[in-house]
């Protein structure tokens, strides 16, 4: 069990650093050193294990959240009068609270205490064991509010979203095991990273007007943006800062792709597109030899 001090954020940067080392070793004088690359592959394996574990934890939390929200909405539907009686402020607060709650679920530990649940969201928070808001709680952070209250149309592209400069909300990548889609939550706003799956609905089509309080999901086609191949990912890795907070969402998606590539062995380096469709638990838990295969390939 890796020391709890290390978290998924360090794992991601370690993965990039390790891949860079392997790449650089090809041009070192004296040739590739087997011993050093073997040790680097162990670090890669350890970092991948932590990274995958965190991802599963994220998915589990998201799934639990969705279940809770479904329950909450059902509870609300039982009392439609309450819905009309709420004033706009409450509605906005509730919406923001959802985002706050959801943001807290996104893995930013700093927000677990900062979530501002209200009304039905309080139920959600109670389920999650978060501290409930006192009556007349303070205003939610404007960033949550802004990001959550985006209109459904026009659907902005994720790359047009202004970086609001908030350091509160982290970027979290979520792997949907059913649709094989990797999504990123940034500042409480969800993006779709991979356009490999056509069924990218992610709840959008399923949204009904009654579920206004649910967080609006942004839709990012990212069709103009090429999903990186290994080479450009390496280049990006080279440019990367070691600090996790400097990673933008494209890097986390690249790392997800790289994880999938290595998870499926050397053939993944040749047919990356096929691998993107194979992001699933089976691949993620592929044999540890996959790392060595990739190393040997170098």
């Amino acid at each position: 069990m890796i020391h709890t001090m290390e978290c998924a954020a360090d794992a991601q940067s370690l993965i990039s650093i390790s891949l860079m080392k392997i790449h650089n070793s090809r041009t070192q004088r004296g040739g590739i050193k087997l011993h050093k690359n073997l040790l680097v592959s162990y670090v890669l394996r350890n970092a991948r294990q932590v990274y995958v574990k965190e991802k599963y934890a994220e998915i589990y939390r998201m799934q639990q959240y969705e279940e809770v929200m479904t329950v909450c909405n059902e509870i609300q539907e039982l009392n439609p009068l309450d819905l009309d009686a709420e004033d706009a402020g409450d509605e906005e607060q509730a919406r923001a609270a959802c985002c706050g709650e959801e943001a807290s679920l996104c893995g930013s530990a700093c927000h677990r205490g900062a979530a501002q649940p209200a009304a039905h969201a309080r139920t959600a928070s109670a389920l999650f064991g978060c501290s409930p808001l006192e009556d007349g709680g303070k205003e939610p952070d404007p960033s949550y509010y802004r990001s959550c209250c985006m209109e459904a149309a026009p659907v902005p592209h994720c790359d047009q979203f202004p970086a609001n400069g908030s350091t509160h909300c982290n970027i979290t990548t979520v792997l949907d095991l059913d649709t094989h889609v990797v999504t990123t939550v940034e500042n409480g706003y969800l993006h779709q990273d991979c356009c490999c799956c056509d069924a990218l609905q992610c709840g959008q089509g399923a949204q009904s007007p009654a579920k206004k309080r649910k967080v609006e999901f942004g839709f990012c086609t990212s069709d103009g943006e090429e999903v990186s191949d290994l080479t450009s990912a390496r280049k990006r890795a080279k440019r990367e800062d070691c600090s996790y907070f400097h990673l933008d969402y494209t890097d986390t998606s690249n790392i997800s792709n790289l994880i999938s590539i290595f998870g499926s062995g050397f053939t993944g380096l040749l047919s990356r597109q096929a691998d993107l469709e194979q992001i699933c638990s089976k691949q993620v838990l592929a044999s540890l030899g996959a790392w060595t295969r990739a190393i040997v390939a170098f």
């Binding site: 360090d10 087997l34 073997l38 162990y42 670090v43």
Partner: protein, 445 residues
Amino acid sequence: MAGAGGGTSDVQWCFSQVKGAIDDDVAEADIISTVEFNHSGELLATGDKGGRVVIFQQEPESKNQPQCRGEYNVYSTFQSHEPEFDYLKSLEIEEKINKIRWLPQKNAAQFLLSTNDKTIKLWKISERDKRPEGYNLKEEDGRYRDLNTVTTLRVPVFRPMDLMVGSPSGGVAPPPILVNSISSHARWADLSASDLRINLWNLEITDRSFNIVDIKPANMEELTEVITAVEFHPNQCNTFVYSSSKGTIRLCDMRASALCDKHAKQFEEPEDPNNRSFFSEIISSISDVKFSHSGRYMMTRDYLSVKIWDLNMESRPVETYQVHEYLRSKLCSLYENDCIFDKFECCWNGNDSVVMTGSYNNFFRMFDRGYRQDVTLEASRENSKPRSVLKPRKVSTGGKRKKDEISVDSLDFNKKILHTAWHPLDNIIAVATTNNLYIFQEKPN
């Protein structure tokens, strides 16, 4: 007396000499890669990244200062290895000297083995005082003269000879492996280790060797460990040990079978689960293994510690010494700057009571096994006044830094001492910084 006491409590170390360039700009070729005393301690050999070997000889003790042991002065310098290119693999083969081993001396000549990644070479260093010159009937090269050209007669005289360094057989045939460790026992036997194999050489048969250990898996994807060091037992010529990147040491007996894949003993300490981190595998990789002179113990060096093993107990080491435990929380940055891959060596003193190893910031550490004491010393030009006593250094790990202590963040990780050697009989040590060789002696009373 040889290593008398040897305890860190009563030995004070003085600066004696420093060899090498002074300027801070270090040429890559000058980086010292190995240091080794011969069996009498009279000769000290260093190898560098440029493929050169420099041999220092100790001057006889002067009558004026009988307690001050003689200085080491350059005895011979030669180019041992040259860079090569493997055209088949498109690989450049570094000329860096990985290891030097002296052979036990049998006659007046000295023999040493030097190896780079590919080739082990045997060198003979012989010295003849005088040589007759001026033959009438023979040329200098030994050919007989044409009698008609002889017009005068002269008496041949003896002249002093230069040192001869040569390879009796023109060098050992390159083994098809990368050599990272060699160990010599008798005049006839030599072990060489690559990442996956250990070969036994007969020094008189240079075109082939015997493979005695092979850990290469059938499927390279299943590779989990490599060989990192090998050493003959000092007294039992049939026994040797090899260490691995997984932190295990295997002892093999060549009498048991021709192929020593099955070890006679395996020494391994279970990992402490509380210390598990991303880098557990790296820091448990053994970088050096050395038998004690007695042959009863062996010492291993991994990234953070030195362990002493009793050959009769395989389950755990009998002693563990932390070299620089304060680096455990810095492993991530040490991984980024590649320092975590540094291969530190270790050595015993003459009577096996003290062990020594290097660290960063040009610090080196000594651990007294008897008194359970340790000391940190520094090899630096600032402390290089003749016969100045070395002051113990301390690294502060807590929040408050005392005077004269140095904080962990101030350590210079480019200044590393990887190679150290201890005179087999006296308290004289050779410590190699990046490109300088420091010689320290015990303070005379």
